[in-house]
């Protein structure tokens, strides 16, 4: 379940350089300068059609190569060909990638290949005749769910092995977008399962960005579901046929279930988490950054203001979203409901300023206070 290089400049004994202890694979460093050129050369000769290799040999050679250097795109591409020809089980590449990531947690090519493999698996999944291939005949939904959980674990491990691991967190977001379809349940589960991790990695901007992604996806989800709810109500009023009512009741029920997301509470909890971490770990810019955005979300969250049909939700469409500035967001929303939240923020910031001894903390707190004043206009 883990690979590593054992610093060992000379072969002292006449024995294999491969060491396997408690399911962890080690390679003594002296052999690398012989092994790597050898397998590398063999693969290149195959690619140049100068020397044939059969499927098993290819599998072994690429496996060895990638465990020594996972950024060797050609090796991953050979495996893509093997997968497409049906001689290599894609799930094996997920395992190989996972192993490579224990030593090379950033490796861009590993993550890219992983996404290709997952895309293959999703496509397979949608073809019922192949649903049993490579897995234990589980139902497609269950299979996807297990894949997602496994990806979350791989990302989490890789994120722990390298600070602010952009590639690991990006992959995590991709998996939620393309495999898990950003359902409310998944978003909430991820919020709770990453809470402990970010508390242990307070400078990891990528980790906190992930939480921002989860929260903004939740906000967007709530708005779309509310829209559907509103539209259904309108349709019901116009069209009281029995069949339509049943359909709409179904959708409404689903929306109602999803509506059980207490968005204001999620955002409040996030603010609390942030404040707690800022107090406990002074001087981390990431936390203050995260705080800014949380407050912005809380105040501009449509779920906290009264939902009316007249409310402008266009801004949350993907395409125009980026055109939003803080000012235009404020003007388009219903008036602020909750000045209690902002009072608390002022008290929090003033408390930090009066009690902190860390220079950076003081600087961040001062900047935050200035921002509060401009932003809240109070």
């Amino acid at each position: 379940d883990e690979i590593g290089l054992i610093p060992c400049p000379e072969a002292r004994y006449n024995r294999s350089p491969i060491v396997l202890v408690e399911n962890k694979l080690g390679v003594e460093s002296w052999c690398v300068k012989f092994l790597l050129p050898y397998v590398h050369n063999k693969l290149l000769l195959y690619r140049q059609r100068k020397q044939w290799l059969n499927k098993d040999e290819l599998t072994d050679i690429t496996c060895t190569l990638l465990l020594l250097n996972p950024d060797f795109t050609t090796a991953w591409n050979v495996r893509k060909e093997l997968i497409l020809s049906g001689t290599l089980n894609p799930v094996k590449d997920l395992h190989l990638g996972k192993l490579a990531l224990t030593k090379f947690p950033k490796s861009p090519e590993t993550w890219i290949h992983r996404r290709w493999v997952l895309q293959q698996l999703i496509q397979e999944n949608s073809l019922p005749s192949l649903a049993t291939k490579g897995n234990l005949g589980a139902a497609p939904v269950e299979r996807i769910h297990r894949l997602v959980q496994e990806e979350m674990k791989v990302c989490s491990d890789a994120a722990g092995r390298y600070p602010s691991n952009y590639n690991a967190w990006s992959h995590r977001i991709w998996v939620l977008q393309h495999l898990a379809k950003l359902t409310v349940k998944v978003l909430l589960d991820e919020l709770s399962s990453t809470k402990y991790w970010v508390s242990m990695h307070v400078s990891d901007h990528s980790g906190f960005h992930y939480r921002q992604f989860l929260l903004s996806s939740l906000i967007r989800r709530t708005v779309t579901d509310n829209n559907i709810l509103v539209q259904n109500q309108m349709v019901n009023e116009q069209n009281p046929s029995l069949q339509k009512e049943e359909e709409n009741a179904g959708t409404e029920a689903a929306c109602a279930e999803e509506q059980s997301v207490d968005l204001p509470r999620c955002l409040d909890e996030e603010m609390e988490l942030c404040s707690e971490l800022i107090d406990n770990y002074p001087g981390h810019e990431t936390l203050w950054c995260h705080s800014d955005e949380n407050l912005s979300n809380s105040h501009h969250n449509p779920a906290t203001s009264h939902m009316t049909q007249a409310m402008d939700v266009d801004g949350l469409n993907e395409s125009s979203r980026q055109g939003y500035t803080q000012e235009s967001k404020r003007l388009k929303r219903a008036p602020m409901q909750d000045s209690l939240g902002s009072e608390m923020e002022y008290r929090f910031v003033d408390k930090v300023l009066s009690t902190c001894r860390d220079v950076d903390q003081a600087r961040f707190a001062t900047a935050y206070r200035k921002w509060l004043v401009t932003f809240l206009g109070q």
Binding site: N77, K80, I112, S170, S203, D204, H205, Q212, C289, Q322
Partner: protein, 234 residues
């Protein structure tokens, strides 16, 4: 980036860069590209690799430069972008970090600092009266100090930060960043800001393509002589 490879903001920049220099840029080729890049801008103000990702210096440069080529910078929130990138210059080191709360790195001397000429141009096109006519909106001298004092390898070449080894990538982007920091504007508005002896001054680099401005002009002139190739089979 290549057939069967990953797709992100970098490929948009590579494509726009090549197409504009070789005069094969057509509206159909980049239909929807500018809007997609704009979606890569996030709450931080910077731009990520694909929509939803964390803001990152390298991707932000690629996004902004591509939009500059496509003349669609207005699709971005330029103000939040400016706020984000200026926040990336390190107050102690003088160099730039790639993302919030990360360490300084010499290569961001170009990816991040290089954004300021691009922003300057975009904001100028809007008729912003507050723009300086002599300096970029970052501390040009502080960046030069970081590059010259901390990023040089005694054996030649440049690097990420003291303690790292030299490589061509860091040599290229430290020098590119140095050139950006030393030269404001062009033509009548050209203003040189050189730290240390005059010999430290590098040739200016083009903020979009990062090659000499004369080379950009020559390439464009050369390819303008040829018609834009059509996609119809011959």
């Amino acid at each position: 980036m290549h057939v069967g490879g990953e797709g992100d903001v970098r490929s948009a920049y590579c494509a726009a860069s090549v197409a504009s220099l070789t005069n094969i840029l057509t509206p159909t080729l980049f239909a929807g590209t500018a809007e997609w890049i704009a979606r890569c801008q996030n709450w931080e103000g910077g731009i990520g690799g694909v929509p939803g990702m964390e803001a990152h210096g390298g991707y932000t440069f690629c996004g902004m430069a591509a939009l500059g080529i496509l003349k669609q910078e207005h699709l971005l929130n330029l103000r939040s972008l400016l706020h984000w990138v200026t926040g990336r210059q390190m107050r102690f080191e003088g160099g730039f970090q790639g993302r919030c709360n990360k360490l300084v790195d010499g290569c961001y001397s170009f990816w991040q600092a290089g954004l300021l000429p691009l922003l300057h141009r975009a904001l100028h096109a809007r008729g912003d009266p507050a723009l300086s006519m002599a300096h970029w909106m970052f501390d040009q001298l502080a960046l030069q100090e970081y590059i010259l004092l901390c990023c040089q390898c005694p054996a030649g070449g440049l690097l990420d930060k003291p303690g790292k080894s030299r490589d061509f990538y860091h040599t290229c982007y430290c020098l590119s960043g140095l050139a950006i920091a030393q030269h404001f504007g062009s033509g009548d508005l050209h203003n040189e800001v050189v730290l240390g002896i005059p010999e430290n001054c590098l040739q200016a680099t083009h903020p979009v393509y990062n090659i000499a401005p004369e080379k950009v002009a020559r390439a464009v002139m050369h390819f303008l002589q040829y018609p834009v190739p059509s996609l119809d089979p011959a």
